[in-house]
């Protein structure tokens, strides 16, 4: 086996940081090591003030908390609280988008509804009349249906999950008591249940974990994406570039970082309008580049270039070439403000909830979106003026990447092959084994795994074994930087079966070459697109999503959001590989439920594996089991 090398992009970025004597997260991790075993095992409880309590995994010390809480209950409680953190993030994102749509409809916020097609599709699903009505009115009806969920206290099923989720799964969720009504109530109840002296039953807490994860899946991800598509349009296939080399020495580089396109769409819009000011300042142009999931949003809808995934955010600042990094919400390292200080970089926070010491804060509110966007861009131009003429150090790496694979655009491509039954070519090739199955490789980029190229190596191992990979979030950046989001990668990495299918499909669709073997489906909220895709395939086959030869993976887990997203996959019956281990190993029962017994409940399990090849092998084997279940070889 050839030794796995640190990806070239991180290698050159780290060399720059070193040449500038700047410590990075890798150094902070080294200083943090060894990391606390109680934390890693999940057996540290700080819920009440008799504690903190820690349970000794070896048995000579305490075996339960002061209140008598068992190790299993402790890890379940901690994991449930992580899940709530993830769900709250996505539900918060959804609500922000809904309110922006409301303000746009009310003429209070300068946004145009660009996704009429999406609104019409959803209208049909939700029974909203469309005949002869203005698009705005249809959208307002949909909006009211969505907003109703946030205020309801009638315990009636939540509108979004009950209309958007596949029916068979809803049956199961009802049986298990997982259907929810008001998302905020679930978040409140989960926090309540996990505060001192409430739920002490690990099984009950794990069931609540699934429920809260469903809230994330449908009121977090799906609702967000549905309304982002209504507001900004559904992504279409586009070709872009990835990696730090997309920064331009002589342009005003604005890196948009975070998760919420409500800000970055405006930045992009005004960058176009204010280009002349940049030119007047001596720049070639304004170069808006995408970082993290805001980057993904912009790449999906506008082909904006992808500069960096999350764990590279501090590193791209060390190039000295980023004139402004403007951030919205989630995954923003406070360290960025400190690194920016060493350069002429304006580090700008915009969400009033995300305040970072030493950052410049330009509060961004949809009603004043235009003014704020201009202020931000002018700040970037000012930084550029200061930077101009100073040396910068931009590694020249960049790769071509195909993005914009929404379900709609995938169906679009496939209908060029079979207009009447677009999914048929894919399904046929799954049946005949050319496509072994599907893997959703999603989530974060972690410095704990980056230097051994965990995601890329795992994805390559999957492709080799004819597994078609879909990706979102920071793993999409990783795949992009590794050149996996191109047709060329199909020839390079895929097994014969998959290669043949992608080539045939690409040619039939008139692309003049193979489809990429890894499909970039968007930001991390866009995991709902993966669920929609699986739902469509399952519906076409008349099976449950959980029966499909499909598996999920978060190979470089960092954020709580990945836990709640993972939970929503598990509830759907889709098993998940994860690395590193979730913090439950101190609870043997919880570990067993997640890794074994859950199979009998939702049909999915969690599998932990830290090595790329072994992780891929497990996923391939797991898919093989699912195939066998469907009677496929």
């Amino acid at each position: 086996m050839k030794p796995i090398e640190i990806p070239i992009v991180e290698k050159s970025l780290l060399a720059i940081a070193k040449s500038r004597d700047m410590g990075t997260a890798r150094d902070r991790l080294a200083a943090m090591k060894p990391q606390c075993g109680f934390g890693e095992l999940g057996t540290c409880c700080r819920t009440c003030y008799m504690g903190p309590c820690r349970i000794d995994p070896f048995g000579d010390g305490p075996k339960e908390g002061i209140c008598g809480l068992s190790a299993d209950a402790m890890v379940a409680r901690n994991l449930l609280r992580e899940t709530v953190g993830g769900t709250a993030s996505h539900v918060g994102h959804a609500r922000h988008v809904l309110l922006t749509v409301r303000d746009a409809l009310d003429g209070k916020a300068p946004y145009q509804i660009k996704g009429e097609a999406k609104a019409l599709t959803l209208a049909k699903l939700f029974g909203v009349a469309t005949e002869g009505r203005a698009a705005a009115d249809v959208v307002r009806d949909l909006l009211n249906i969505a907003l109703q969920d946030f205020g309801r206290q009638d315990e009636q099923p939540n509108n979004w999950v009950s209309k958007r989720a596949p029916a068979a799964e809803q049956e199961l969720w009802k049986r298990l008591g997982l259907m929810y009504s008001n998302p905020h109530n679930e978040i409140e109840m989960a926090m309540h249940a996990t505060s001192m002296g409430n739920d002490a039953d690990p099984v009950s807490m794990l069931m609540r974990l699934l429920k809260v994860s469903l809230v994330d899946g449908w009121t977090g991800l799906t609702l967000t994406v549905d309304f982002q598509d209504i507001l900004f349009g559904t992504p279409e296939v586009t070709v872009t570039e990835a990696a730090v080399g997309v920064l331009e020495k002589d342009s005003v580089n604005i890196a948009a970082h975070g998760h919420n396109p409500v800000l970055s769409e405006k930045i992009l819009e005004w960058a176009g309008k204010l280009d002349a000011e940049a030119v007047a300042a001596g720049a070639e142009r304004i170069n808006v580049v995408g970082v993290c999931c805001t980057g993904n949003e912009l790449s999906m809808r506008h082909g904006v270039k992808l500069a960096a995934h999350n764990s590279q955010t501090e590193l791209i600042l060390t190039t000295g070439a980023v004139d402004a990094m403007v951030v919205d919400i989630q995954c923003i390292w406070p360290q960025l403000a400190q690194v920016a200080k060493c350069f002429d970089t304006a580090f700008i926070t915009t969400d009033d909830m995300v305040r970072i010491p030493d950052a410049r804060h330009i509060g961004f509110h949809p009603e004043h979106a235009d003014e704020s966007a201009q202020e931000i861009i002018r700040a970037a131009i000012d930084s550029f003026k200061r930077r101009r003429g100073k040396p910068v150090d931009i590694p020249q790496h960049k790769t071509t990447a195909v993005a914009g694979l929404s379900v709609e655009s995938i169906v679009d491509i496939l209908s060029k092959v079979d207009a009447a039954d677009p999914l048929k070519p894919v399904i046929d090739n799954v049946a005949n084994g050319n496509i072994h199955g599907f893997a959703g490789v999603v989530g974060c980029s972690s410095i704990k795994f980056r230097d051994k190229a965990m995601t890329e190596e795992m994805v390559k191992a999957l492709l080799k074994q004819n597994v078609l990979v879909v990706t979102t979030g920071c793993t999409a950046h990783i795949c992009g930087q590794a050149g996996l989001l191109t047709g060329a990668a199909t020839d390079l990495y895929c097994g014969d079966g998959l290669k043949a299918v992608l080539t045939a499909l690409g040619n039939a669709a008139g692309l003049g070459g193979p489809l990429p073997p890894v499909w970039h489906m968007g930001a991390c909220v866009d995991n709902s697109r993966i669920v929609d895709l699986l739902g469509a395939v399952a519906g076409r086959l008349g099976v449950k999503v959980g029966q499909l030869p499909a598996v999920g993976s978060a190979p470089e887990l960092v954020q709580e959001k990945a836990i709640s997203i993972g939970g929503s996959f598990l509830a759907l019956g889709v098993s998940c590989h994860i690395a590193p281990a979730p913090r439950v190993l101190g609870g043997p029962l919880v570990t067993k439920i997640l890794t074994e017994d859950l199979q009998g409940i939702t049909g999915a399990i969690v599998h932990v594996e830290l090595e790329a090849q072994k992780a891929a092998d497990w996923m391939v084997a797991h898919i093989a089991e699912k195939r066998a279940g469907l009677g496929l070889k």
């Binding site: 150094d27 200083a31 029962l589």
Partner: protein, 415 residues
């Protein structure tokens, strides 16, 4: 049995204590050309600057020699050894006396190098900083000193310079080489030291060799260096130290730069041993060298004492370690700088460097943070192959834990 020890420094005292521990009855005579009891020369600069009181220099109680039954001959220099007759000569000319011994330990230390510059030897106000007498001489003169020149930028020169700065004296350090601390650091680290010295007001002049000391009977007026006269009222000559082996000529004791000893600290002649700054012997990597420092003196003295009493103990070799504080900031080094490659880490104004050869550490230099130097030094001494964890060596969090033997991983038992 009578044991005679030439010297009253750490090597001599460590040997005497070891010998007394092993044998309560034998005769021990300690000879020293200085008249004061055992003291530590290391904090002499701090003594000058008054941060260490005089009493702290003396590391043993007043009753030490009495308690251990040690006969002292202080204020007398040993001048010759007659190994055939087993006699040591003290003093010279008419006053010379002789002392018989069964075993002899030569622990006479090193002497400050005084270069043969015009005016250096005989102008009042010129001092070395090697002995307590030197320090007291400087202190006695300090009241009339506004400006001082320190010749030499080794660690003693720099310690003298900062002590004087802290006493309000304007100090110029002149160094013949292109950098300060030339024995200890490479140019990159030396540059950091130089700028720190300058920040604290020291006028550092490298590539500037002293040519003459100017002045007269009233005292020094200037030092001529690099063609310019640097006016001053005090000169500290810190041009290095060297073993003084001249008085052993004709004794038959083998010497080179120092007294040659084996790993039992024995010289070529039976019954005669040597330890401390005066010896030349193998370092921990097997290279024959003269390395004067406190641990080498104490460890060598102890090994000599044991072997002199018939307890065979071998010395693992001299340790080439240096540490100095530059206005409170620690700077250290060990081993050599002649690696094939070097690892370097800079952080928060600190710098750490390791020199590697064949996957092994051969030396290190540390500026600002010296913690862990001993561990790297030990890795060098043991010849540990660090190739497999090279990237971790200078990373934060590296420590002895990385080198601990690890138990086998636990068996997985059924839950």
């Amino acid at each position: 049995m009578r044991i005679v020890i030439v010297g009253n420094g750490p090597a001599a005292v460590a040997a005497a204590e070891t010998i007394r521990d092993l044998d309560g009855g034998c005769g021990i005579v300690m000879v020293s050309q200085e008249s004061v009891p055992f003291y530590s020369p290391c904090p002499l600069a701090e003594y000058v600057e008054a941060s260490v009181p005089r009493a702290h220099l003396f590391l043993r109680p007043e009753s030490f020699y009495r308690d251990l039954g040690i006969e002292t001959r202080f204020g007398l220099a040993a001048t010759a050894v007659d190994s055939a007759a087993r006699k040591l000569t003290l003093g010279s000319g008419a006053a010379a006396t002789q002392l018989e011994y069964d075993r002899l330990l030569i622990a006479a230390g090193a002497r400050a190098v005084m270069p043969p510059l015009p005016g250096l030897a005989d102008t009042p106000g010129v001092f070395a900083l090697k002995t307590l007498a030197d320090a007291e001489g400087i202190l006695a003169r300090l009241a009339q000193v506004r400006r001082a020149v320190v010749i030499g930028s080794g660690f003693i020169g720099l310690e003298a310079a900062q002590a004087l700065v802290r006493k309000g004296v304007a100090v110029t350090v002149i160094e013949a080489m292109g950098q300060v601390l030339p024995q200890m650091l490479d140019a990159e680290l030396a540059a950091l030291v130089e700028s720190r010295l300058r920040e604290h007001g020291v006028d550092v002049r490298t590539n500037s060799a002293a040519q003459a000391v100017l002045g007269g009977a009233a005292g020094v007026a200037a030092v001529k260096a690099g063609g310019v006269d640097i006016p001053c009222e005090l000169v500290v000559c810190a041009a290095g130290v060297r073993p003084d082996v001249a008085w052993l000529a004709g004794s038959g004791i083998a010497t080179a730069a120092g007294v040659l000893v084996d790993d039992r600290m024995a010289t070529n002649l039976p019954g005669i041993y040597a330890a401390g700054d005066i010896v030349e012997t193998n370092d921990s990597l097997g290279q024959r060298r003269v390395i004067g420092n406190w641990p080498n003196a104490v460890n060598g003295g102890r090994i000599a004492g044991l072997n002199m009493m018939g307890v065979e103990r071998r010395y693992r070799g001299l340790d080439g370690i240096n540490v100095v504080r530059i206005f409170d900031l620690p700077v250290s080094s060990f081993g050599g700088r002649d690696g094939e490659r070097s690892l370097c880490r800079k952080e928060g104004g600190h710098m750490r460097k390791l020199a590697l050869r064949n996957g092994r550490i051969v030396g290190g230099q540390f500026y600002g943070d010296v913690n862990g130097t001993g561990l790297y030094h030990e890795l060098m001494n043991k010849g540990v192959d660090v190739g497999s964890f090279e990237d971790e060596l200078l990373a934060p969090g590296f420590g002895i834990g990385r080198l601990m033997p690890q138990p086998p991983l636990p068996l997985r038992r059924a839950a």
